[in-house]
């Protein structure tokens, strides 16, 4: 045993880095510029990741895996999130299209069933440490279940990995064609990790102003994020990882659209090739996007885009209340 290995084994670990944040830091470091604090466009993105696996004050969570490799083989949407169409409602501007989509979402019934279920394809690009480094794209299916009492379960499918570009494939070969994350079980996505933060879940207001006020009251006191950064992070958590009603979800869109720095783009694609309206913010280098189905108002994707490339994404396949039940947790 290595000296002091027990310390390494026992003490809590940290979740994987947010790739967008790494990119931003890398650009700043290589530019030799002094870094402004909290420049991430997905502030505390790991908060949402942790929420998926049950946010803990301290500790570790075992995430049961979905049986077999279901990545990319899940059944098509049957509940709230329909496959997006490229037809957009009649609207004179993207902002108006978003407002219409929010109205349509708010008009949806809250849904019935004992469990709320969110199924998404998570895509994440990561560097390897090879010389020269190459980028690997990891992809997995993630399902979150929440019951009417707020109990939460989550499942993850096996990770599949691929090399996105010819340059990456060349660098990978030059590095000796090493096994990729999805080729073995020791893959960091979905591993148990430590998460010291939590966000209190409350009954969410269904009006944008009230929602914003509530979220700002819940903002952790020891953080120095700007209000907008906190609200974007919390919004992401609400949309992906909470059983918020359609009206509350619509309020999230309206709240974000009214924040300084928010843009509405009329047409954007997600990693599944679907088209929607994008509600986004960020800087010239990195943008965070919510892709929204204009015909229903449903959330299609939450993604981070760098220079036109999607680096990190949750593409929602299904979202809403259901009569299905989660599988029993196993060791």
């Amino acid at each position: 045993m290595r000296e002091f290995q027990l310390v390494d084994d026992v003490m809590p670990d940290v979740p994987p880095a947010d790739h967008a944040r790494v990119l931003a830091v890398r650009a700043e470091v290589l530019g030799g510029t002094r870094r402004r604090r909290r420049t991430s466009v997905w502030p505390r993105v790991t908060l949402a990741a942790a929420a998926v696996t049950g946010v803990l004050a301290a500790g570790a969570v075992v995430v049961p895996r979905l049986g077999g490799d279901r990545t990319g083989t899940v059944s098509p949407s049957t509940t709230a999130t329909a496959v997006a169409t490229t037809s957009s409602p009649t609207a004179s501007s993207p902002e108006e299209a978003l407002a219409t989509a929010a109205d349509r979402l708010a008009a949806q019934p809250p849904g019935t069933g004992a469990w709320w279920r969110r199924e998404a394809i998570r895509t994440r690009r990561a560097w390897t440490k090879a010389d020269p480094p190459f980028t690997v794209e990891h992809r997995l299916t993630e399902v979150v279940w929440i019951d009417r009492q707020g109990r939460r379960r989550s499942e993850q499918g096996r990770v599949s990995s691929s090399l996105p570009t010819a340059a990456d494939r060349r660098a990978w070969k030059k590095a000796g064609s090493p096994k990729l994350c999805g080729d073995h079980d020791d893959c960091q996505i979905g591993k148990v990790f430590f998460m010291p933060m939590r966000l209190k879940q409350a009954t969410l207001p269904e009006e944008a102003g009230a929602l914003k006020a509530l979220l700002l009251r819940q903002r952790p006191k020891d953080r120095v994020d700007k209000d907008e950064e906190w609200l974007w992070a919390a919004a992401r958590w609400i949309l992906l990882d909470s059983a918020a009603t359609p009206r509350a979800r619509a309020a999230v869109y309206r709240m974000l659209a009214g924040l300084p720095g928010a843009d509405v783009v009329g047409r954007a694609h997600d990693t599944e090739g679907r088209t929607g309206i994008a509600l986004e913010h960020g800087n010239a280098f990195i943008r965070q996007q919510l892709v929204i189905d204009p015909t229903s108002g449903d959330l299609l994707a939450v993604q981070t885009v760098v220079s036109g490339d999607v680096l990190d994404a949750y593409a929602v396949r299904r979202l809403g209340w259901t009569d299905e039940r989660p599988p029993e947790a196993t060791d």
Binding site: R2, E3, F4, Q5, L6, V7, D8, D9, V10, M11, P12, D13, V14, P15, A17, R21, V22, V25, R26, E28, V29, L30, G32, R34, R35, R37, R38, S40, R44, T46, T53, G54, V55, L56, A57, A58, G59, A60, V61, V62, V63, W127, K129, D131, P132, P133, Q149, G150, R151, R152, R153, S154, V192, M195, P196, M197, R223, A329, D331
Partner: protein, 177 residues
Amino acid sequence: MTASLDGAVADPERFATVFDAHYEEIRRYIGRRLDLDVAEDLAAETFLVAFRRRHSFDASRGGVRPWLYGIATRLVGRHRRAEVRRYRALARSGPPQDDDGHDQRIVERVSAGVTVRGLSAALAGLSRGERDVVLLVAYGGLTYDEVAAALGVANGTVASRLSRARTKLRDSLGVEL
């Protein structure tokens, strides 16, 4: 690979390789000592400092990893009260048995009878210098020579700090680490 990067430090073009090779591990090292938000900032700061001081990097006094761990450790040192508070909080609460109805199975990591609570309390009881050497070895996997290079102290100092730390940890935990 580490040795091959020594020459890349002074070259702005090749510094990217240093960043790509070591950012994750430096972030992880700091993130295991401080809250993640602070750690993210300090990991970035570590590489900004390294980039600015790249011309003063001397490969003969240790490789790139000890150099980076040394910068990171000095930055962590500015937050030593926060670090100790964190250990004390973990020692008090430990991993919770339940989490407001979240019925995930929660696991307290236990190895050889050592718990997060016990070890956190023990780490809080070390001096800053003792904690630095223990965690550079435990989390960074640095050798004694590399720890000495990282902290800019003599090898004998590293050995004596580790000896004292080992005694304190054994007395606190009841097992030899």
